[in-house]
């Protein structure tokens, strides 16, 4: 089969899957829906691999292929085709999206098994994957905007999947409102670009852009800033980020799929895809880079103080995407996409492991109530450790290479990018701290009631089902989580998918070992060959220093976390005994502990609390979410109060309106 056939198949399988599941939701029984959904995505992934083989067999200069299935509308000045653009960048995204999605579907087969909305869940999930693949494969701006809107809709459906939960529907609406703000950005940005170049086709736009606009031409800067609004909203960057923590109301596989591995990285993809435009609009690129840097710091500080297990991971996701946005905005494309890939592995893994813990906790997500799961859930614990090490950037786990690759790229460019470089390392330290804070609090320490019960051989089930968010009583029917919980230890499909991801999170870095493999850079070259910043000569001294700093900061962070959350007074005697030597060693240096806490953790935590309290609640929720809503409410009230029901008032409006028209035209004359 040809490259384009494979690529169309990539799209066709998830679409078919979602249609079958959508139509058959009354007929399909048992695990059939899970099997259909999972195999649809698996086939899509395999088609992606076929496309990859076919693409690599082409000469490098012809590795950007546009294929049009049918001419959508080619009349009246409209020239819209249902066309896809297959090149290394889109194919990388396809493989990451479809690959991780397959594993997450597999995980969901067990995770969601007792839920009444089983079929609906897979229908939504397949629909989401289709939308996401369409977004990354889109060959023109209109299809891109369509895919962009569809993933937002799918995300809304999945966040509100337990639709009888008030908190879930509210979170869905919030996500939707902010995403619509982003959609405005994308659509208006696309209109600006279409008007400027007179083309909708991406490759044509890129070819014409340098002729139409000079560097920092106001029009393209505005266009790119509008695109950035879309990218920031979808990728949960400050100040459009508050929907992401709330989106954790959705089922955990959804968090793993949409809010870690795929949809939230759409902003990164967008900037990378539009790089010929962002390189002309350097101001917009700088805004993007600074926005990413701010997000990575703010989110990391908040991650230090949040007590909800999934929200910690959510803030961590924001922070990591901040790295990627910063990278691709600053022209470090290869590293940014490399991090996108490794992040998809280890973050999906962390979410899956978190899902396993939540299963053991019977839906409870509060870190304060957890503890001591290490012994009773070894698989989950192992996955958490692997994911955590990769996230903290400890060699040789994948996150280490990708994060350092980004920072190296920034450092190589010099100039004010040094500020971003430093921010990146500060963020790396905090990342390690919050990650292991989470792990230590959930898995170490005194076993909690649920861990005890698991140790006794039975999975804890609460007597009555309650919403972990606000404590309202629930049943287990449609629209609420199902009756049973599932943990990786007891569900092969969950542990298999976690295992695969754990392996990838561990060894994923080999694809791009600096100076050794560089596979990803070579692979992506055809897409970015027009970029002067792509493949800059690497300063090997800087690289060596950076790697050392990165590793040291990561280890230091883990150490700090360990000092504070494991070794603090009141930890169980068992832990003390196990770490007897270091405990004695450090208990004598009591003040060291305090000093670290005072110097590093307290300021960070204070900043985190500050951001959470002011920036999030007041600025973001106030201005960005509540703003449009209250404006809409007020305008609606104004319009409707004018609608008095009095027919004489209506007649007056007609007459006054007509008189105004006459007046206007007479003044024209």
């Amino acid at each position: 089969m040809s490259l384009t056939t494979y690529s169309w198949l990539v799209l066709a399988f998830p679409l078919t899957g979602s249609i079958i599941l959508g139509l058959g939701h009354k007929v399909l029984k048992g695990k059939t829906a899970g099997a259909i959904g999972t195999s649809a995505i698996l086939l899509s992934f395999l088609s992606g691999l076929g496309a990859l083989r076919s693409l690599q067999s082409r000469p490098e200069e012809s590795r950007q292929v546009v294929s049009s299935l049918w001419t959508y509308a080619q009349t009246g000045g409209l020239d819209v085709q249902f066309s896809i653009l297959v090149d290394p960048l889109s194919l990388l995204m396809v493989l990451v999206v479809a690959g991780v999605s397959t594993l997450i579907h597999l995980y969901s087969v067990a995770y969601i098994a007792s839920d009444e909305g089983y079929v609906r869940f897979f229908a939504y999930l397949n629909f989401f994957v289709f939308s996401m693949l369409m977004l990354v494969l889109a060959g023109n701006l209109i299809l891109l905007a369509v895919g962009w809107g569809l993933v937002g809709a799918a995300s809304y459906l999945l966040i509100s999947f337990w639709y009888r939960r008030n908190t879930a529907t509210k979170a869905g609406i919030k996500a939707f409102v902010i995403n619509v703000v982003g959609d405005v950005g994308i659509v208006l940005g696309a209109i600006v670009i279409i008007q400027g170049t007179g083309a909708v086709d991406l490759l044509t736009v890129f070819a014409k852009a340098p002729q139409v606009w000079h560097t920092n031409d106001p029009q393209i800067v505005v266009g790119c800033l509008l695109l950035l609004v879309g990218a920031f909203a979808k990728s949960a960057q400050v100040p459009f980020h508050t929907w992401l923590p709330d989106a954790m109301e959705g089922p955990t596989p959804v968090s793993a799929l949409i809010h870690a591995a795929t949809m939230v990285t759409a902003g990164v993809y967008l900037i990378a895809r539009m790089h010929p435009l962002f390189q002309i609009a350097t101001t917009a690129s700088d805004v993007g880079a600074i926005g990413g840097a701010v997000t990575l710091l703010v989110a990391a500080t908040i991650g230090l103080v949040v007590t909800d297990l999934k929200r910690v991971i959510a803030y961590s996701t924001m922070s990591q995407i901040g790295y990627m946005i910063m990278a691709v905005s600053a022209g470090v494309y290869g590293a940014g996409l490399f991090h996108l890939m490794t992040h998809a592995f280890f973050k999906a893994l962390l979410f899956m492991a978190a899902g396993s813990v939540i299963g053991a906790m019977a839906g409870e997500q509060n870190l304060d109530r957890m503890g001591g799961f290490r012994k009773v859930m070894p698989i989950t614990y192992g996955c958490f450790i692997v994911g955590g090490l990769a996230l903290s950037g400890i060699p040789p786990f994948s996150g280490f290479f990708s994060k350092d690759d980004i920072l190296l790229g920034l450092g190589t460019q010099g100039g004010w990018y040094w500020a971003l470089y430093v921010a990146g390392y500060v963020g790396a330290l905090m990342t390690a701290i919050y990650t292991f804070r989470m792990i230590f609090r959930a898995f170490h320490g005194e076993p909690c009631e649920e861990a005890q019960s698991l140790a006794d051989g039975r999975l804890f089930h609460a007597a009555e089902h309650r919403n972990p968010g606000d404590g309202t009583l629930e049943d287990t029917g449609v629209g609420y989580p199902g009756a049973k919980h599932h943990i990786a230890e007891r569900s092969p499909s969950m542990s298999i998918s976690m295992g695969v991801l754990a392996i990838l999170a561990t060894i994923g870095g080999v694809i791009q070992l600096p100076k050794v493999t560089n596979t990803l850079d070579h692979f992506l070259h055809p897409t970015f060959s027009d970029s002067p910043k792509f493949g800059l000569a690497i300063d090997y001294n800087l690289m060596a220093i950076g790697m050392v700093i990165g590793a040291v900061l990561g280890l230091l962070g883990i150490y700090i976390a360990w000092m504070i959350w494991v070794k603090k007074p009141g930890t169980s005697a068992r832990i003390q005994a196990r770490f007897a030597l270091p405990y004695k060693l450090f208990s004598n240096k009591w003040y060291f502990d305090e000093i670290i806490a005072f110097l590093i953790v307290r300021p960070f935590a204070a900043a985190g609390r500050f951001f959470q309290r002011t920036v999030e609640r007041v600025v973001v929720d106030g201005a960005i979410t509540a703003g449009p809503i209250s404006i809409a409410r007020a305008s609606s009230a104004a319009v409707r109060s004018w609608q008095s029901g009095m027919l004489r008032a209506y007649a007056a409006a007609v007459i006054v309106g007509a008189a105004l028209l006459v007046l206007y035209l007479m003044l024209q004359a």
Binding site: R640, Q643, S644, G645, M646, L647, R648, A651, A652, I655
Partner: protein, 99 residues
């Protein structure tokens, strides 16, 4: 012949009609005022017809009269129907539908 005078009268009649629609509450009177507005237009049509020396405007005016009669008939019918239901024929009372 100065068309201006005819136009002025016609405009004034139109304005009186419009003002009547806006100020009167009795639906019957409102119908009368609507007739006034239509007849203002008729006057203008006939005057213009004279000015241009062709018959178009006059034909137009005659047709308008016919149409106006139909409109009033329907209006009166509705008012009778409302009256029969025991409702007050008052423009301001008919404001159940709003918002």
């Amino acid at each position: 012949m100065n068309i201006g005078w005819y136009l002025a009268v016609s405009t004034i009649i139109f304005a009186i009609g419009a003002a009547g629609v806006l100020t009167k509450r009795n639906a019957l009177v409102i119908l009368l005022c609507l007739e006034l507005m239509l007849n203002a237009a008729n006057l203008a049509l006939v005057a213009f017809s004279r000015m241009w020396g062709n018959g178009d405007g006059q034909i137009f005016a005659i047709i308008v009269m016919v149409v106006a009669a139909c409109e009033v008939t329907v209006g009166l019918g509705l008012i009778v129907a409302i009256h029969r239901r025991g409702l007050v024929v008052d423009a301001d009372e008919l404001s159940e539908l709003r918002g």
